[in-house]
Symmetry: D2
């Protein structure tokens, strides 16, 4: 049972720090603030200037490091760490990061947030000339590319390799004395640079991790940058200058923590503005009594919607805080109850009322349908769904595990059909221009869409899709709405 | 590290069910919805009509029952279950409930939510004539009282014993064929009766547990009632008729889940009304830019305050969802960071703003001070604390672990001194009449305070205090405000 | 899956120490040497002179104390500890010892090795006047008896209570400043007194635990003794002088560790002598090629047998050291293999040979049959079983979990029938006189059977059987040998 | 705390099976019988004909597969498995086998027992042309070599690669439909072929694993063989014919389970003969009262010695069966006791006696010294050490973790100095010719040393040492005996 209610999972969070005592401890606290980006695995590699030491395992950070000795073992003033989302059940052991490579000429640790769109092609090319991959993760590709450039100095090889990998990525690398951070040429994935009071530098997927370790946000790492931190201080280098900001809009919509600031925009504030603009574009019906949000990621947008609509903002759904990762298999008769263990309607609030429910997005539609059903069973007179993002029609190839169109409800059905399928009384989505306006990244120059990637909504990907070009063209097999509704009525 | 941010801990949650297949499974789901009432231990006893079987251990419900075999072992159509708060570190094993007693003449299982005010006296009396207590919990007292009435039929002995124990309690008992539920004569603790579609009866601490197992709320168990459920159906009996409703107001203010309905009042709605009335009594300063709540228990009141004050309701603090119970001991240098792992300010929201923070209560004051400090460090121009309950001046003897006046900030300091101590720019509390008005239990007749216990605020306890009479009279040792502030400035 | 190959389980091991720093640590090491006496639970209670602190749980000692903090928590210079055998699957939590009772007038910790033959009667009597037992263990009876003597000083009440309980017992009690050790009036269970270099006293179930903590063996605790250790030194008191030494012979035969010394007799040496005498009474057949023992408990006797018979002593069976307590359920097809995971025949040794197998005892006969089968499958030409103890015909009521005659093969079948049932080529047992001669406790005066209990072999119990009087008279239902053999041939 | 008393650790055990239902289950049982070859990690990969599935983790087999679901997940009729010894504390996660490689053109699983003597050279060569190794294990080298032969058919590439790797190895490989087993050209490591009743083939490190799954031993895999098992049956192929049998003599002396048969010789029998020959070469002193063995690996040799010497074979040392892998850190004062938790002298046996202790080998000498000391403290009059193998003077490069001369006591000191250092009254070793005679592998033709490797004793390695050539020539820094003895006397 995943922690998140929605079936939309971030790949990872990364954290790195240079020049603090007990760097692994600080990294632990940084990763703790990034735990929402991945709960299936965690790990830290630390360097004492000579040796790199690694500890990692499956599970939450606090489970992985349940024995203090394992953290103590990671000695040194530098560290990188990682939290990871991964497919449960399979052997995810090989994929838990950071990876640590012991070469005859030195050690390199590596971790990564993102998805490479040409990983398959690169892997094939590398395998065709004899490379061996141990993990199924894209992350390993980079180190292979680097190491294949056998006569090139490390820094040159790294830059050349970063130019070969495509897609969304935020890489952290660490040798025994240097920390490297690199961001893809579109800045799809967030990555920030911070600084401690003692001057030490920190890099992290989100600024909330900087706050957690009392570091100040210096600035966002920019597309194409390669940041090098060692005893000579910090060097902001570039592996490419052909860059174009196109931040993943899903970070603002769903993934990032509300207290994070990405490219100058506080995530909560952006979400609230999405709610405000949504209220204008998709107004509440006249009979609406209140606005409620789906906890936790939609609460900001719901508050904005309520404010703009002049409707009371109520707590109509609550989230159980004690969802266990490893959960017993209920008997057949009780399985349905299991589904409702994560969310509960507040009967006293919604009963007899016309409700506007604000959610951040619709992916498969399953959760939305359950929410509508749950609220109606709790006595809601009508349920009007308002989605604080545009219809999610196209797969996400830059670091989220929705990469097949057939999984996306909006790829197959019109808004009115979606409304029928989820059983809502009305359904409305935010427009793409309003999304862009709500985020409003400052100083993006002539970057299209205000520096955001909105390809999941309009299909206009800012980069070639490489390995995924074919897939996206495959025809969709769409089951007629009436068939599905009939099945639902029969309880299937 | 406790799950809850505030140092105020409910003692327990109870759940019982009669006549469903796999009763232990259903009980599991019911307890899951009550997990907020106790996270240190959990257990279930089931009966197959002949034998009672027990499984219990320290930890969260999902940790205790991590092996499905342990739930399968609990065969039968009846079960009672318990989630428990207890002192960490000590051997809490003996106190994990339900207790199961194997007498030569039959088995009895027992669990309990509440606190007996004359437990010490009763224990002494029983010990003086040779009784032996294994646990330190009050719960055991009842079974001793019953068994000492050796020539009395069980039901008579039970009633007589219930008349001997004083304080707040909701007891569930189970023999091999009958389920019993009893509530104290003031109804201090919540306890509801529900019914499944198949007619089976359920009892639970809160109605949210009924929702979780798809049972309908029939009604609240009333003060002095003894409910008996077996193959003859349900019998609503009384062990006393000298009753007076005096529900613990802290359930509405802080403990209960927002979706629960207690004596006809939805908890979220009551909290929101507290916020609304608070806004009237303790208005926001003119310069206030926004209202924020302390997650999660204060969010309803904060929304009410914002609505009434006509101020934007913002998310200025967020709670980390991934707090581990067993947490590594950080190094000395990092301990302070550990404190901030539970809450984080949303810098982008609060920076440069005048903030009204709505919290549900102030107990020791430590958390409030940290919140003010955290918000100011995040750039808040001013922080105005508004507390959606009256000052907590008198100990709570009916089932919450605050039973010493010296731990209560409001017992020792005036509101203006409290304001200085927590470092806020202003501080205001809800009045007792407004609290009563906000809850507004219907049809309470002539019950004082609208059927609520507000003794924690005015010291007028609705019952004698028995074992605690002396304690409450002890003089308080109050350290001067200036001394404390000096220490704080010195960083002590 | 139990650790021990034979279905014969000791109840417990106890350890206590007075006046050493970190007494809980020393107790840990002492219990470690007693782990063979019980693997289902372990616990320690320590006293710092003021408070008693307890930690205990299910599992091996090293599992219970896997977190060093739990041992550190047990502060103080005095401690008692316990390892326990208990029924798996059921809620054994309540039975894990030492028990710790918090009375209004002080704390008492208690643990116990043995079995009380009148526990049921005493429990009934106590329950009839209102006592409540939490555990199903006999141990609790003593504290109830003591506490019922409400006007008697503790030491008097303890002595009077010790006179009330019957059967085999070695009790350790601890108050905040005194350690008590008491042995039953027949000395059924072993208990030794030791002394550290610094003069501190230690009591333990076996002398191997003294060795483990570098204490010297002072002497065995004698029947009827009550030893009191506190700041005034040691006092050897008696609760009765009506005593008669009757040490459980199964300690010498099977339970105790070979390096322990019980009443002046080294266990290994006694076992070896049993083997030597067995060789004389039940000589090997002429064609015998070698002698092998069943590991580990029969190896001493087997070596003695081989020596006396002038035959090579070989390793024909080996025991897997890595048997897990929690073991996966194999598929139906593989279940049989599971049985053989504990023992393996050494094919290269036994193939084509006529084997004498020396085992310490036959209880149900199941293991013996499997051993014969296993050896024959490995190519043994003939398998001659020689048992280094007399036929086990009568139940054991003094502290071992074989208390039903129907479980004992020798209670139902003649030696020649047993031989057929286990499939051996011949079968012979040691005689009772030879058993007595092999142990040969020095200076037992006129104690019958040289101070040993041999009632399991001759049915002449040295004490009344109290609660078990009826049971032992029940007629046995004996299935004809031919029927069983037929079933076995059909593979049932 | 390692399981084994001696600091000599086998690298691994392997098991593979083709064409049985629930192959992973069978593999589990096979690995269970091989657990003595490695306790730090375990894993299984199974194939259902299409996909390979993997589960592996740190810990004992029963710990790794504590959740039955993880074994159920490994569907299919083929499987390979591995138990592993590895450096504790470090991140051994990456090294837990079998490895599973997902290539674009198929999957390959791989596991290995042994040590490659040219791994470093091969790794360097591969890294120099861009290969990336994830683990520190040698095992990975083979797959890299294979995959670098990009245009060669798999079987050719495999054979060519097997010719490139040097040292001791037993490799198992598995594709989705074929199982491969390959042995080094000297047969350093044991590997046997077995067959189930249904005709299915099994390969395993030792024959005891065949017994555990009811498979018959067909024959030992021969040096240079490559065995291929798939739907076409079994094919015994060779990757080289330049072979020379040189089985690792340490398997007979110490590692293998006594019930295993290696190259036709039962291990227990070989050990017993070592003891017999040792008694002739290094006779017991006249005053000797008895012979004892160091449990468990030396018991066979000790029995042989006693038999040949005409002395009683006694149990003078016993091994605690309940040594936990994860053990609490004792306080400084108790650390010494911790050392003695594994072995205990049988005081009643050894006190006042002149003892001959038979041990299988001396590596560092630390354990021997502790044994002597322990026995003397228990009252032994004299302790004469007899070692059932020649002095271990040269490192072991073929699969055991003693690869540095400085760790070997016999590399630095004469026998008489060793005797002084361990504090024994006399010390004697088996000669190399006697070792060879004791093992006596049948039909080895003109293989030197009767088909055994005895290089650890005479320094004449049967192969070039490749990466280790330099190391073995390094001068040893030998501390004078007197200095060490002085330190010991001072308690350092």
């Amino acid at each position: 049972m995943p922690y998140e209610i929605k079936g939309l999972n971030e790949e990872c969070g990364v954290f790195g720090i240079y020049n603090v005592p007990d760097a692994a401890n600080v990294t632990y606290f940084g990763l703790h603030a990034l735990q929402h980006r991945g709960q299936q695995g965690a790990g830290i590699v630390a360097s004492d200037g000579k040796n790199l030491r690694q500890f990692r395992d499956r599970g939450l950070l606090s489970e992985v490091f349940s024995n203090p000795a394992d953290l103590d073992f990671l000695k040194g003033n530098m560290a990188i760490g990682h939290v990871r989302y991964g497919t449960a059940g399979s052997d995810s052991l090989a994929n838990v990061q950071p990876f640590l490579f012991h070469f005859q000429d030195g050690e390199i640790a590596l971790c990564h947030n993102g998805n490479l769109t040409n990983a398959k092609t690169l892997k094939k090319r590398l395998e065709d000339s004899g490379s061996v991959f141990q993990s199924s993760s894209d992350t390993e590709v980079l180190i292979h590319l680097i190491r294949r450039k056998v006569r090139m100095p490390f820094i040159e090889a790294l830059k050349a390799s970063l130019n070969e990998v495509k897609g969304g990525f935020a890489f952290l690398l660490m040798t025994n004395d240097t920390l490297y951070a690199a961001l893809d040429s579109n800045g799809f994935r967030p990555l920030v640079l911070g600084q401690m009071d003692n001057g030490s530098y920190v890099v992290a997927s989100e600024s909330c991790a900087l706050d957690a370790v009392h570091a100040k946000l210096v600035r966002d790492v920019q597309p194409g940058e390669l940041i090098i931190i060692n005893k000579d201080g910090i060097k902001i280098d570039h592996y490419t200058t052909e860059t174009q900001l196109a931040v993943c809009s899903m970070e603002y919509i769903y993934f990032a923590r509300p207290d994070s600031i990405i490219h100058g925009v506080n995530v909560h504030t952006a979400r609230k503005r999405m709610g405000i603009l949504l209220a204008k574009e998709q107004p509440a019906p006249e009979e609406a009594d209140m606005v409620i949000g789906v906890p936790n990621s939609s609460l900001s947008a719901a508050a904005g919607y309520a404010e703009a609509a002049g409707l009371p903002y109520e707590m109509g759904l609550i989230k159980n805080q004690y969802i266990a990762r490893t959960f017993i298999q209920p008997t057949q008769a009780l399985r349905e109850q299991g589904v409702k263990m994560k969310l509960a309607p507040v009967r006293g609030v919604v009963s007899g009322k016309n409700i506007v429910v604000v959610d951040d997005s619709i992916v498969r539609g399953t959760t939305s349908r359950q929410i509508v059903q749950m609220l109606k069973e709790a006595g809601a007179k009508s349920v009007h769904m308002r989605i604080a993002s545009p219809p999610f029609k196209y797969p996400h190839f830059y670091g989220i595990d929705i990469s097949e169109r057939k999984d996306l409800m909006a790829a197959k059905y019109s808004v009115s059909d979606m409304c029928k399928l989820i059983g809502a009384d009305s359904l409305g989505f935010l427009s793409i221009p309003s999304l862009i306006k709500a985020v409003d990244i400052p100083d993006t120059g002539d970057a299209p869409n205000g520096g955001l990637t909105v390809a999941y909504f309009d299909g206009k990907y800012p980069t070639p899709l490489y390995d995924y070009e074919e897939q996206i063209k495959e025809p969709l097999n769409v089951e007629p709405v009436e068939e599905i509704l009939k099945k639902q009525n029969r309880g299937e």
